[in-house]
């Protein structure tokens, strides 16, 4: 059961129950919709960029605990970051969740709670959905999919 407790840590359960920044932004500078056809998870992501800085991020949608918690943690992590810092964080997060579980990974602070998905390969897409949607929003694509 320890892998399971690694996956469903209190932080994740908390962000699933009370997702942060779970709202809309009226006219965001960037937005995108993410969809995981495997489980039907859908999320809308709104990003407000002023100058080069992300001043606000919010999301809406329905999904599993992993995708919801990941989106919630991501929105918290992005505020105040520049677009290039956000892009770099996307790459680093992606590397953490796709590295084999027996290999060391970079410490990403709170985001590291999602490293537990490495033991559950089919759930990596759940953890990545929000981040792929962020990438699409910043690249100004309108919808993205984890397929």
């Amino acid at each position: 059961m320890s892998e399971l407790t690694d996956l469903y840590q209190e932080v994740i359960l908390d962000h699933n129950r009370r997702p942060r920044n779970f709202r809309t932004i009226a006219s965001p500078s960037h937005h995108a919709e993410g969809y995981n056809p495997l489980c039907g998870d859908r999320l809308k992501l709104y990003v407000q960029v002023n100058g080069d800085t992300i001043t606000d991020v919010a999301f809406e949608g329905s999904g599993c605990a992993i995708s919801k918690a990941s989106a919630s943690l991501m929105t918290d992590a992005l505020k105040g970051k520049t677009v290039s810092e956000a892009n770099s964080l996307f790459e680093r997060f992606h590397r953490v969740v796709t590295t084999p579980p027996d290999q060391p990974v970079e410490d990403l602070g709170k985001l590291s709670v999602l490293a537990g998905v490495r033991e559950f390969p089919v759930r990596v897409k759940c953890a990545s959905l929000a981040w792929h949607t962020l990438k699409a929003a910043l690249d100004r694509e309108q919808t993205t999919s984890t397929e």
């Binding site: 059961m1 892998e3 399971l4 996956l7 469903y8 359960l13 495997l38 489980c39 039907g40 998870d41 859908r42 329905s62 999904g63 599993c64 605990a65 992993i66 919801k68 559950f120 089919v122 759930r123 759940c126």
Partner: protein
């Protein structure tokens, strides 16, 4: 479901003996005994099927219909023997009315692209139901795009049953094709397909029945149903993947153009004129999945040697038990409560996304499917995005359900 089974015919169906024939059921996953509740996704395979495929490669591997040597004779006999068995399995009038396909999806696409594309015109109507699997939706949408035909969808009620009054009202002289599942993969609803066929025929429409989910549970009689096409998949009925059957009414198959061109579907080829082979070979281009067909033949033998009425009584008993046990868990909502059901228990758990439940159940050794089950419209209809689906095969027991229920307690504990 049938009524409570106080008179279970244990003498003619011994589930322990059945289980012993499925080697994978002794597998352990994450250190726990496997409890396989995902047979609507794909069924497990009994030893005779596994051995038939092994024996084919050891003793008969050759291409069919083509060579004079003994291996080719053996392979052809296995292949054509499976066609004869399949004909008996669905009570087809003639083995020539059996097209061996890649599976149900392939069979439906064959009918859409061969029969549908050659006969439908703009304004013609195709009727399906809200219960359909994507494989009985998308081929018809593609056909509509190609021909200008219109897709009409019969609604379902809150129990997950097709609204037969709405169906009757939707039929008209414009209806050319009706395509409906015999049994719903997402909810387990058994549709009144005999009535569906009869009402469609009154308007001159042809009817395709998607039998993928019915084949492992119900006896199939295409002549009694009077359907024009009946498609099924080997892998749902204890055979290997990549093989299926399309039954077609002989007069229709004769009139239909080939589906794909290639070897084995022709009589003679010149650059000026090619003549096609006879039915059903004109629909079987290319070297088929011969080892799979050999395994499928063994699966048909396996099922036909079982007392299927007794097997169904057993399955209904387990489904009824599962429904009662799972319903009694706090926060559970059963999705799909049709009066006629088989093999499937779909449900949602308040406050827990099905995908999370699936991961935790897996760690307890319990294999279920979570998600939308290739039936997104059904999910939309119930206002949900996904369900947990426990689906049964002849080898499942009440004990399997007890393990599921205990594992669901763990799910609830994690998300308490």
């Amino acid at each position: 479901m049938t009524s409570p089974s106080t008179t279970v015919a244990r003498t003619s169906f011994d589930v322990r003996r059945v289980r012993a024939e499925f080697p994978i059921l002794s597998e352990r996953v994450h250190g726990k005994p496997l409890v396989y509740l995902d047979s609507a996704n794909t069924s497990q395979k009994p030893l005779p099927v596994i051995e038939a495929m092994d024996a084919y490669y050891r003793h008969a591997n050759a291409n069919i219909h083509r060579a004079t040597h003994v291996l080719s004779e053996r392979a052809t006999a296995l292949y054509e023997g499976a066609r004869i068995k399949a004909a008996a399995f669905v009570n087809a009038p003639d083995p020539r009315s059996i097209v061996l396909t890649k599976g149900t999806t392939d069979g439906i696409n064959l009918v859409a692209q061969s029969y549908g594309r050659s006969t439908l015109r703009a304004g013609d109507e195709i009727v399906i139901s809200w219960l359909e699997h994507h494989s009985n939706i998308v081929p018809w949408q593609m056909l509509c795009e190609q021909t200008g035909a219109v897709l009409r969808v019969v609604p379902i009620n809150a129990r997950g049953e097709v609204e037969m009054d709405a169906y009757a009202a939707m039929l008209s002289p414009h209806t050319r094709i009706v395509a409906m599942a015999h049994v719903s993969n997402a909810l387990g609803t058994i549709n009144p397909v005999r009535q569906v066929v009869e009402q469609a025929h009154a308007y001159g429409a042809v009817v395709l029945i998607d039998g993928a989910q019915a084949a492992p549970h119900l006896a199939i009689d295409v002549q009694a149903l009077d359907c024009d096409f009946y498609a099924l998949s080997s892998h749902k009925m204890f055979g290997p993947t990549g093989v299926g059957v399309l039954y077609g009414r002989p007069s229709l198959l004769e009139s239909m153009p080939p589906y794909q061109g290639g070897g084995d579907m022709i009589q003679s080829v010149t650059f000026e004129k090619t003549t096609y082979n006879a039915v059903p070979y004109k629909f079987e281009a290319g070297t088929p999945n011969i080892s799979g067909v050999a395994g499928f033949g063994a699966a048909v033998d396996y099922l036909m040697a079982i007392d299927r009425d007794a097997a169904l009584v057993h399955e209904d008993d387990v489904l009824e038990y599962a429904t009662a046990q799972v319903s009694s868990i706090a926060g559970v909502r059963i999705i799909g409560e049709a009066r006629q059901k088989t093999g499937v228990l779909s449900f949602v758990l308040d406050g827990v996304h099905p995908h999370d439940a699936g991961t935790i159940l897996d760690r307890e050794g319990v294999a279920v499917r979570t998600g939308q089950h290739c039936a997104q419209p059904v999910m939309d209809c119930f206002g949900i995005t996904a369900t947990i689906r426990a689906s049964l095969g002849i080898y499942n027991t009440r004990e399997d359900i007890d393990v599921l229920v205990r594992a669901l307690d763990k799910v609830r504990a994690v998300f308490a």
